[in-house]
Amino acid sequence: MKYDLIVVGGGPAGLAAAKAAREAGLTRILILERDKELGGILNQCIHNGFGLHRFQEELTGPEYAGRYLAMLEGTGVETRLDTMVLEVTPDRRVCCINPRDGYREYEAASVVLAMGCRERTRGAIALPGSRCAGVFTAGAAQRFLNMEGYMVGRRVVILGSGDIGLIMARRMTLEGAQVLACVEVMPHPGGLTRNIVQCLEDFNIPLYLSHTITDIRGSGRVEQVTVAQVDENRTPVPGTERVFDCDTVLLSVGLIPENELTRQAGAQMDPRTGGAQVWENMETSIPGVFACGNVVHVHDLVDFVSAESERAGRAAAAFVQGSAGQAGPVLELQAGQGVRYTVPQKLRLSQVEKNAEVFFRVTRMFGPARVQVRSGEQVLARFARDRMAPGEMERIAVPRVLLDKADAEQALVVEVQEETP
């Protein structure tokens, strides 16, 4: 049987894409999910702070997922759980395996890739010290604690100040553990300011900026962790070491988009995002194969994941229905000064409706500044910002009427200009 759309991954990205494609008129839609239920990472994110943009309400992760599950109910969208996708081919055959049906291959008129991220591990950051038990990624600890009912430790040091680490600092404290320190190698926190306040400051958990873990000791289980200050080259400064007696280290040191399938399918990748290069409608370099959510670039807010994924779902529907417009001039986006990457990486002008939405991250902290979009010497649009931080994804909507003035021979540069006080 041939599906109109197969969605790989049933997290918020996959759910939103399926919903939008259904609303746009596709009927044979299948979601493949390797876990035993839909919802993705949201099932373990029991804290609130989701949905303020999308639903104008503060929801917990499970509640946010629940909203999308309710929207899909009765729509005829099929799901197969416990199903691992092994391969997606450029001609859109999807190979998967599960304990009931064994190995299966399905054909699809369009595919949405929504596999999310996985966490960077101890090996990935070459953390020194003994190979003892008690070192977890923060997200793994979150799943143990919130879903499977295991308390992962009593005296905890957290490395990295990304949102997951901060959320876990509070969560472990509420469950009776003592969080001794949150250690961040950069001079600024990785997570949202609100999480610094409500997860660390509320519980008097010290945050050591420009510090890192230089040693982990323990036979069997973690016993001691050495923390030292680092200089501007992130090299530990001798004489600044302090030792914490603890039994657990949680790592919140970044996420990596999970793109084995994408690469294998032959999609062009962007080394800066770790995800596929995408067009304005979230299509990858392979026609009819779309990608959205954390698998494209790491998001901090699920609301933006949903918005981007609904766009992907609608585009998949247009592709299948043959209503996708003809190619016209193409604009290539370039991350200029102060900008680390942009998503999308390319725009087909004819496909842009009123605005082209562009997501990006800045390379460092900025005070009052302007984000400008430039084609050659010509500045097309400017957006004022009071402050920007690398930990917070930025979004601009560039009006189509301005993009029409761009020179297709030149890259469209997105850059930051600091306001001179």
Partner: protein, 118 residues
């Protein structure tokens, strides 16, 4: 003048609260910030999220939250109330599992449904 960061939404505005003038708030980008700034100085509150034990469900824990904010000073005492709770699957979303937490009028409610898994 007290300076604090608004935690109501991810924007995280820097607020200044003037204790001498009826906790007048500046630096907020929306009315919710003004409300938060005053409350944080007069009677700080938090929404608490956690989990409780569940038997016979897809997982061993089911997530819960307070149905509204409770006084910040009561957070740990409220958490302790959850230790005694054990639910039996199946359970619907938004059912109370502890009522009237410490006389606040606020309940702990489930934040998802959980099926029975045999």
């Amino acid at each position: 003048m007290r300076e604090l960061t608004c935690i109501v939404c991810p924007k995280g505005c820097r607020l200044k609260v003037d204790e001498a003038h009826d906790w007048a708030v500046t630096g907020n980008s929306c009315p919710r910030g003004a409300e938060y700034g005053k409350a944080e100085c007069v009677a700080p509150t938090r929404v608490v999220t956690s989990t409780v034990r569940i038997e016979g469900g897809t997982h061993r824990r089911i997530p819960v939250k307070t149905s509204g904010p409770i006084p910040k000073k009561d957070v740990f005492a409220a958490m302790a109330l959850l230790d005694a709770v054990c639910l039996q699957a199946p359970v619907e979303a938004h059912v109370p599992v502890v009522r009237d937490i410490l006389g606040t009028g606020v309940d702990f409610i489930t934040t998802r449904a959980m099926k029975r898994e045999d």
